[in-house]
């Protein structure tokens, strides 16, 4: 049975089908939901010059709020399902790296995620971050549309 199920969220509705599947699996195996939101590194150029600082700060605040909202939704759904839940925000890493690292550090035995998230090219068969997780993760990944 699955004890610790990692559910990455990008804060979009694409993550919700993965969350619902994770909740059902956790309910069957008395598992814990680990919600994670990964903020990618900032795109702002040359932050060390200080010129971009106001833009950067605004961007960071917005990202932080988005991440908080995303993991709060996971906590709420897990609470409604009566399941133990822990959530994390990871910043400064590409999302796929953050997801794999969190899975390892949190001793998760499954990752449940959507086949694509917010970014990327519409023409791609599968989201690039999801594909990177699939290619590198040592633990099983359940992929939902």
């Amino acid at each position: 049975m699955l004890r610790r199920i990692l559910v990455p969220t990008d804060g979009t509705e694409r993550s919700t089908s993965a969350l619902e599947a994770a909740l059902r699996l956790a309910a069957l195996g008395h598992g814990t939901i680990i919600g994670v939101h990964a903020s990618p590194p900032p795109y702002v150029m040359a932050p060390e010059l200080g010129l971009a600082a106001p833009i950067h700060d605004a961007w960071r605040r917005e990202r932080e709020q988005l991440g908080q909202d995303a993991v709060a939704y996971i906590r709420r759904r897990a609470g409604e399902a009566g399941l133990p839940c822990e959530t994390l925000l990871v910043t400064g890493l590409p999302p796929s790296d953050a997801i794999i690292r969190t899975a390892r550090e949190q001793l998760c035995d499954l990752i449940v995620m959507a086949s694509r998230g917010r970014g990327g090219l519409a023409g791609r068969l599968i989201g690039s971050e999801t594909w990177k997780v699939l290619s590198h993760s040592a633990i099983p990944v359940l992929v939902l549309r």
Partner: protein, 171 residues
């Protein structure tokens, strides 16, 4: 605890064994070590969750030129027989593992040009609600190539796909 049927909002908790979360799991196998990992995990998952398994082996045929065939005194059916034997051997292995774990298993072999198309068609035709796939964890270009069938299945699947990779150093 109240019957989950009485409380639809709580239908996720403690499902009775008669209504498994995933009823039928498609397990494609090509006889490789990588697919053996997926087979093993699928049988274990099916046993724990009360699911049944559809074991699929795709005998991949290659388009041949009629003229080339005619010029060779070769019966293409010989090739097909060998392919079918190989495919049946693969699904028998899964059937045996499933039987050992007390999991119901439907063996399935199909001839197809494309493994991913065959997997997607079989999932649909047999009402599978989950697919277990092994994926190669190679580096660089070969990683892209080795994973391309998995990628096509992921892109085309209407149901969730469980992707498993061999542990580092084992394949």
């Amino acid at each position: 605890m109240a019957d989950p049927l009485d409380n639809p909002s709580d239908s996720t908790a403690g499902k009775p064994p008669g209504r498994p979360l995933y009823k039928r799991i498609l397990v494609p196998t090509d006889g490789s070590d990588v697919s053996a990992i997926a087979e093993q995990a699928a049988v274990e998952f099916a046993r724990a969750h009360g699911s049944e398994i559809v074991a699929l082996s795709v005998a991949q045929t290659y388009p041949t030129y009629a003229a080339a065939e005619a010029s060779m005194a070769v019966d293409p059916n010989l090739d097909n027989d060998a392919l079918r034997d190989w495919a049946e051997r693969n699904v028998r292995r899964v059937s045996a593992a499933a039987a050992g774990a007390g999991v119901a298993c439907t063996p399935l072999t199909v001839f197809a040009y494309s493994a991913s198309d065959a997997i997607l068609d079989s999932a649909r035709d047999h009402g599978c609600d989950l697919i277990f796939m092994g994926s190669h964890g190679r580096r660089g270009l070969s990683r892209l190539l080795a994973g391309s069938e998995t990628q096509k299945v992921l892109a085309g699947a209407e149901v969730p796909v469980m992707v498993l990779r061999p542990k580092p150093g084992t394949a």
